[in-house]
Structure formats: C-alpha cells, structure tokens
Homo-oligomer: 307 residues x 2
Amino acid sequence: MRYPNRIVIREVSPRDGLQGEPTAISTDDKVRLVDLLSASGVERVNATSFVSPRAVPQMADAEQVMSRIERRAGVVYDVSVPNQRGAARAVEAGADAIMVFVDASDEGNRRSVRRSTEESLAEAERLIAETRARGVAVAGTVGMAFGSPYEGRIAPERVVRMARRMVAAGAGAIALGDTTGEASPRQVAELISAVLEALPGVDLGLHFHDTRGLGMANVLAAMDAGATRFDASVGGIGGNPFLHNAAGNICTEDLVHMCEEMGIATGLDLDVLVEANRFLESLLGRPLPGKVAHAGRSRVPQILETA
Amino acid sequence: MRYPNRIVIREVSPRDGLQGEPTAISTDDKVRLVDLLSASGVERVNATSFVSPRAVPQMADAEQVMSRIERRAGVVYDVSVPNQRGAARAVEAGADAIMVFVDASDEGNRRSVRRSTEESLAEAERLIAETRARGVAVAGTVGMAFGSPYEGRIAPERVVRMARRMVAAGAGAIALGDTTGEASPRQVAELISAVLEALPGVDLGLHFHDTRGLGMANVLAAMDAGATRFDASVGGIGGNPFLHNAAGNICTEDLVHMCEEMGIATGLDLDVLVEANRFLESLLGRPLPGKVAHAGRSRVPQILETA
C-alpha cells in the first residue's frame, strides 16, 4: 500500500457534527468548539451552515457563530450552503470558502432539497460562478457519491460528470460525500481513481461516515488511491439529520492517532483534540463513538491502571 | 491494493467474546451461540477455553459446552488453553484443535500467567509436542505481537522467533494477536511480511481488537500483505478480562458485510449472523458495538423508513 507523507483534515464537527443534535447548543458553546479546533492546529474547519432555520434549527445562529469565532491565521473557515440565498448570507458573514453540495442520487437530492440532481447542479453552477465573482472560494460536494439507499450504486461516470461541471463553473475543490455510509474500500479506490483521471490535480476531499464500520478502512483505501484530504469530526459525531441511523463521521482523534502511528503528518495536536472531545461529551451528555479519547494512545500503560 | 478472493473467518465470540462478561451466561445460551455460528457457515469456532474457573469464571463449564454443542461436519471447533493441564482437559473433551498463546510482552505474559515469555514459550513447545502426539492439531498464538502497554512496540524479530519455535514444535498454524489494540496498518503489513518471509506458506491468522478504532483498517492492510485468516466476534464483543478498556474484537457481521461489498468470499450468511447478534444483545441486555446489525446492508432503503 502507498501512504502519503501528510494529509489535511477538515474538521466538520461544528456543522455536520452538531446539525442533527436534538437539543439546542448555545452559540457560546459552538464558538468554543470552533476555537478549540483552531487551537488543535487544524487547517480547515466547516464552521456552520447557512440553511433555513426551519429545516435545521441547530444552525439558526450561523451569522453569530461566524462573527464571534476567533479567526486564526492559516485556518480556512468554510461553511455549507444549500442554495444561492445561503451563499449570499455566507459571503456577507465573512466565510473564507463556501461548500455547495448536490446529491448524485436523484431521490436523495429530492428528499433533501425537493429538486432533481440536474436542477440542483444547474443552480450550483450559478452559485459557484457568482460566489467566485465576489472573490470567495467555492468547493463542490457530490453527496451520496458512493451509493444511496434509493438507487443502489451510483455510476462513477455520473459522479465524474458532476465534478467536472462544478470545476468548470469555478469550484476550486471537489469533495465526495458518502452521505449514508455505503462506501467500501475497493469502490472508494475505483471512484477516486476515476475522478483523479478525469480531473488531474484536482483538490479532492473525502467525506466518509462510519455507518457500517468501514470509515477508517475507506480512508486507508483512499490514501492508497492518492487522496490526501479527509473530513472528520471530534468524537465521530455527526450524520444527516434527515436520515435515520446515518451514524457519525470518521473520528478526528482516531484518524490523527492512526496517522501518528503510521508516520503520516496531520499537523493536529491529539491532546487538544481529546480536550475538544471531553468538551463535546460534557456538552452532549453522552459518551461519543470515538475510541482514542477513551483508550488513550497506543502502548501507554494508563489504560490498565484505571481499571 | 491487493485483496484476496476469499478469507476464512474464525469466530471467537463464544470464548474471547464472553470471557470478560461480568454476568454468568448459562451453558444453554453458550451452546445456542456456538450452534448459531455453526449454522452461519463459519469454518472455525473458538468454542471455549479450558482455564482455571477461578481465573475466568465464565469459562467454568467448558466441558459441558463441548459435550452439548452440535458438531457440524466441516466446522473446526477449537479451544484456548493456558497450559498443559488445560490442553489435557481440552483433548479429553474432544476439541478439534487447541490454541496455546504466549505473550510477546514479558510483562504482559507475567500479568496473565505469572511467567516470563521464555518460560511460557518453553511450556508451549512441550504442550504442542504432546498434543500433536495425541493426534490433535495445535495453533500457537503470539499475543501482544504488535506492542504492549508495558514495553511499547515489540520487535518483529522477537515475534518471528516465537512463531518459528512454535512451528518447529509442531504447531500447524500461527496467530498474531493484537491483544490490547496497539496495531496500526503500516506495522501490520510489516509484521505479516516478516512472518511470511520467515515461515513461507504458514497458516497465519490475525486477531485484532478495535480498541483505537483501527480494527477494520488493520484487516485491510493485512489482506494487502497476504493474510487471509481473521478472528472476529459477533457484535464486536470481547476483550481481555484482565485489561481495562481493551475493547472488542472486530465485528464478524461488519467484516462479512465489507467482504460482500468487495467481492471477497467468506462463506458466511450475514442474515444468520445478524440473528446471532440479536440473540447476544438480548442475552447481554445492551446494544453491541457492531454496526451492520443496526444499519442494515448498504444501499437498502429500510434504514430510512424506520426513522
């Protein structure tokens, strides 16, 4: 297997992590989470989303979060938006970059935003061009890129075509989202190879969920296929609030720990991430799925002494 | 990455899975679990262990379990033993094969059996020779092969030397145990390569724990390095009862599901495994860590309709 010397982790716990939480999190606590992540050395944070407060009540304070977080030099604070109205709010609020997503699954896209994939893609093209014209970077996410519960597998050609159109419209980066946790390692490698072949040198991010226990195995297969950018969330929280049992993102601490063990640089400080995990666990009042925050680093005796 | 066309899964939930459970499981329920696993199509079951009932009370009924399980043709029912007395009991009880283990970590081995690695290895050599002389197969497990919380990493040469001695004594198979979940993918590949180079053609099993979230990633790296035999437990239960937070084995259903998605044959029936998961969850009265039994197969709409 081939592994990169370095990967870039995008922290999505403030947005993908919290959006499905049923109890309201205060703006103060969201700001504290983002600031803790910045302090961990992360290069990119998905800070919030500019969506309808009716659709996702947890993100109703997106403007306040953006105005109150500490903007560390070198950290890109991106935000997710579902449409042009959201993009305009995000630009106004000072986001460094905007993430627009379109599901490769027609039915999945309809259930999320009541439009076909083609309708959303056309809107995304306009959104990307307009946002770029205002001097703000845009990344395009192809959601359900590895399959959906409705249509089954998605043809790689469909994903490649969507990515190509978003890049042509001005997207500076592409992300492939395994929204409902359908991906498996062989398929991950195949889709990444197809995208990298069609769009050589594209800035490609991978967004996996651990729905069926394959999150970290998919990361490994993705690295072997040439990917170096991964979304992850503290504690492995997260999941689409419109889906039952979508399970969390891959866990940031566990990913950083794996990389440390493998000699792959991430730039993140595991101790600060564990602190962020403790903060989130106390905030949400339950143990989170991430393992390293509980088990500790490999080969450290403490795990035996606390029995 | 290279993947095999087929892997062999050894089911360890009746032994490694249950041994650390604090509440007594009835012999009837243990027998039902083993029989369910046999019905799933598994080729090899780690049915019980012949240890001191004082050390591991849960395994006190090893003889009764062995006498009451249904012995399906084609299934190897192996048992774990810590010493020659256990091996004699196991042979008497009709085990198809005996697993003897020695920890590569001196301190780990002392804490388990109050002997140095060298003392246990010498006893294992005698045990292997005597058991083989009685016509019963023996496999040697090198525990803590990937590191321990006491000494840190274990030199691959030490593991290779232990494996070589057990094979020379008559062990028909070798397993590498990541007893406390220290392994990471690059190291997994390196150690497997070292063992396969030193002992070409050896029947090599891998026993991973998911302590730090790397169980399935380690399986993937192991496959790429040429391994085709893996231990796993229904629901991902298990862990050394003497260790705090040792976390479960990799989950059988999740592994089988991954293999199905990747076109790797296992011979196991996922539906029967999910039934075994349900049985274990009701027996233990808590949700188990395995994911697929809850999320269902990939790309199946049911997971959305039950929200």
